[in-house]
């Protein structure tokens, strides 16, 4: 199966009200190219699951926030993008703040067939509100449910034509986790290479998780 698509085809998987997972940490490892395309299309009322809302209002997920395309945001941190806070105060954007390690495990659980995870993080805080507290060997844990998405938008440094991904530097962050947790996974590559060019020992996301590939422009 040919996984390489163009940006127009990539956009055909996204609609108003889509639930998107978007990789990256303060825009590092975020597929900017797809953010620009979504803004151009103007899809509305999106739900975005991501670590944060961009390094600022002009990069990464910040572009979607600034264009007012996001209705629900599930993230660990929004402090670097003041526009997110403004829309939250105005009541036009629902923000659910989740501890970063919990968010990572919820996404991972969604992708690997787990019914949830038990974490000590957030016990005794507002994060615990409405959640089951489970005691194991005398210690309290919160039951956190898995997260899934319609589409995951991720970025790799090298992606081969079979979808195998190698990530450079700190761009892994949420990308390999999200690659497992969505119905459709679209990976943007800094460079697409022929199948077999990436040494199997260096593959960080196995190609079976990746449905479509396109190259950064």
């Amino acid at each position: 199966m040919d996984k390489i698509i163009n940006i127009e085809t990539a956009m055909s998987f996204i609609h108003d009200e889509s639930v998107l997972m978007i990789g990256g940490f303060l825009s590092n490892g975020t597929p900017e190219h797809l953010m620009d395309a979504i803004v151009e299309k103007g899809y509305k009322d999106l739900t975005v699951i991501a670590n944060d809302s961009g390094l600022n209002e002009k990069t990464g997920i910040g572009k979607l926030i600034s264009a007012k395309l996001v209705k629900n945001l599930i993230a660990s941190h929004i402090g670097t993008n003041p526009e997110t806070g403004r829309q939250m105060s105005e009541g036009t954007l629902n923000v659910t703040l989740v501890p970063q390690g919990t968010l990572a495990e919820q996404v991972r659980a969604g992708g690997v067939g787990l019914g949830g995870i038990l974490t000590p993080t957030g016990v005794g805080t507002e994060v615990a509100k409405g959640k089951n507290v489970i005691v194991i060997d005398g210690k309290e844990y919160l039951l956190e449910k898995p997260l899934k998405a319609d589409v995951a938008l991720i970025r790799g440094t090298f992606v081969d034509e079979a979808g195998n991904i190698y990530y450079d530097g700190t761009t892994k962050n949420f990308n390999p986790l999200m690659a497992q947790a969505a119905d459709t996974v679209i990976a943007v590559a800094e460079k697409i290479v022929p199948t077999g060019e990436i040494n199997p020992n260096h593959v960080m996301t196995p190609g079976i998780f990746v449905d479509y590939i396109l190259e950064e422009e």
Binding site: F25, A75, H77, Q100, G101, T125
Partner: protein, 217 residues
């Protein structure tokens, strides 16, 4: 020497040879500037680094390698890079020896409020809740008061970031341990008195029988 430098210099003495340390953004990050050269420390960055170095020099920036504040950094020899689930596995799993972070408020039970002022400042907890829940030792580094108001209290009034987790507090005036029965003053700045420190602290201080003068050389 300003208050922040005093705090950072004193806090640097808490780092032991061989420690894995995670430093929060801002003042805690300053601490790394003052760690003694003969102390070998492995800095952990929540976005997926063990063995983080200093800020990358101009012209030597790797576009794909940033710290948890989105700044370009270097890595030390022997460093490793990983995804967010692995990073928070390290954090939550008790593999970080020491974390230092700032606080809006901290109380005599070791409960910390650092991530939200409802209606005013809502940046999100990022990785702070996981760090405080999982690190072996938690040190709060903060100015003793905020605009004259006490930050060290009987009970935090802001939503807690973690409950009963802080071990020690370092301010420009004092080093205070959190014990079962409350705050204990263990070191004091040469520029103040026990009475003054007590006046600026919103909870009774026990005085350590071996009360020392803070050494900030």
């Amino acid at each position: 020497m300003n208050a922040k430098e005093i705090i950072a210099r004193r806090a640097a003495q808490e780092v032991s040879n061989g420690d894995v340390v995670n430093l929060g953004i801002g003042l805690p990050t300053m601490v790394s500037n003052y760690i003694n050269d003969d102390v070998v420390v492995t800095l952990q960055s929540e976005n997926g680094i063990l063995g983080m170095g200093g800020l990358a020099a101009e012209g030597r920036k790797d576009k794909d390698l940033v710290n948890a504040g989105g700044q370009h950094v270097s890595v030390q020899k022997g460093a490793s890079l990983f995804d967010s689930a692995a990073s928070f596995g390290i954090i939550r799993g008790g593999h970080v020896d020491l974390t230092m972070l700032g606080a809006l408020q901290v109380d005599k039970e070791g409960t910390l409020a650092s991530h939200i002022v409802p209606g005013k400042m809502v940046p999100g907890m990022g990785g702070a809740m996981d760090l405080v829940a999982g690190a072996k030792r938690v040190i709060v580094v903060t100015t003793h008061t905020a605009k004259g108001a006490a930050k060290l209290l009987d009970k935090v009034s802001l939503p807690p970031t973690a409950v009963n987790k802080v071990n020690r507090i370092i301010t420009e005036l004092a080093v205070i341990d959190v014990e079962e029965d409350g705050f204990k003053l263990v070191e004091i700045s040469p520029d103040t008195t026990v009475e003054q420190v007590q006046e600026l602290t919103g909870s009774p201080l026990k005085i350590d029988e071996n009360l020392k003068i803070m050494n900030i050389a």
